[in-house]
Symmetry: C2
Subunit: 209 residues, 2 copies
């Protein structure tokens, strides 16, 4: 059966996004530099550079293979309303998912078809319904809980996250959106599955026990 997975970057102090992060003001609490430090490892990978047309070159190796595998394994994405709205304003016309994307929202809206295989579906019936639809769409491929933090927390609390992949970057944000909050008791149980090294992030992979 399809796996449900999370694959995110995290600051050493546990934030997915720095405080003040809005596209219209990159100077607030220096969020641009913080975000850059969080994502530095990814921008170096050959597969990512190729996909985003950043030019030739880049690292190859286990981290690059992991980035490629993450993209190739994904048959459907689930995201929150805020992540969608931020992306709607900034993604290129060919949105970077190339799968059905289920957006958790109270807004009623027809599916939004983008070139390149991304179609956004707006789900008003909660995270379990979105997961059901994502499973049907993903076929033998896997389902990525893309974010934000609140959506990941909802799926952690449902106990359905099979794999938690974290690129832990050596940067302190000092504030922002925490990944791990609002977890119910008892929380989900994970074991360490694999750790990959890099100079700009440590790639931690946990699987559900």
């Amino acid at each position: 059966m399809s796996k449900v997975f999370v694959n995110i970057g995290l600051s050493l102090d546990g934030y997915m996004a720095p405080e003040g992060m809005t596209m219209d003001n990159p100077e607030v609490k220096n969020w641009g530099a913080k975000w850059g430090a969080l994502m530095a490892w990814l921008l170096r990978q050959q597969y990512f550079r190729e996909k985003l047309k950043f030019g030739p070159g880049g690292e190859t190796g286990p981290v690059n293979d992991m980035v490629r595998h993450t993209m190739e394994r994904t048959g459907a994405n689930i995201m929150g309303k805020r992540m969608f709205e931020q992306g709607e304003a900034t993604w290129p016309e060919e949105a970077p998912f190339h799968t059905p994307v289920y957006v958790l929202t109270h807004d009623k809206r027809e599916p939004w078809v983008r070139p390149g295989g991304t179609t956004f579906h707006f789900i008003n019936d909660g995270p379990e319904r979105a997961l059901q639809l994502a499973r049907e769409a993903a076929g033998h491929r896997d389902i990525r809980i893309s974010g934000g933090a609140d959506v990941i927390q909802q799926y952690l609390n449902l106990g359905v996250v099979d794999e938690l992949e974290i690129a832990l970057a050596p940067v302190l944000f000092g504030g922002g959106r925490r990944l791990f909050e609002n977890l119910s008791e008892p929380g989900p149980q994970f074991r360490i599955d694999r750790v990959l090294h890099g100079p700009a992030a440590t790639h931690l992979r946990y699987v559900r026990q």
Copy 2:
């Protein structure tokens, strides 16, 4: 010159101690099991077992070497009042530090000499004064900021922590005392120095940039 270092266990969700952790009630929010999961890696190490008279056997290897090195390098400890008070009630007569220990507190109290080389000094003049005294006492050895979280935060904000060693355990506490809070802007800057693997913790070592 002596290094100032932190060496702690941390839950995957960023807590140094689970919520409800008091010796008189191990059942509150299941803190005993959570604490056990956090410390499982340490209880397996040969050096730790020998020092605490847990009996023969135990793991040898790079993690065990790290535990020994942490003890041997330490020439002075600094801790907060709450950590001291919890320990005062639970440490054996031969307190497990074997160095001078500087306790940040508003209480005035004469030094408390324990068998085995541990003497507690009660410092009323703030963290910088405690660090100065610890440096003088440590000689060529290093100074460990033992905890709790609030004391580590104070030294992070002073910009004097040279090395941050974290044993990240795959357990979610869901609440408790967070390591990374109350950091000032801009925060201290670290780079990844070394990562050691283990089945029950990932040993992350960061050094100040």
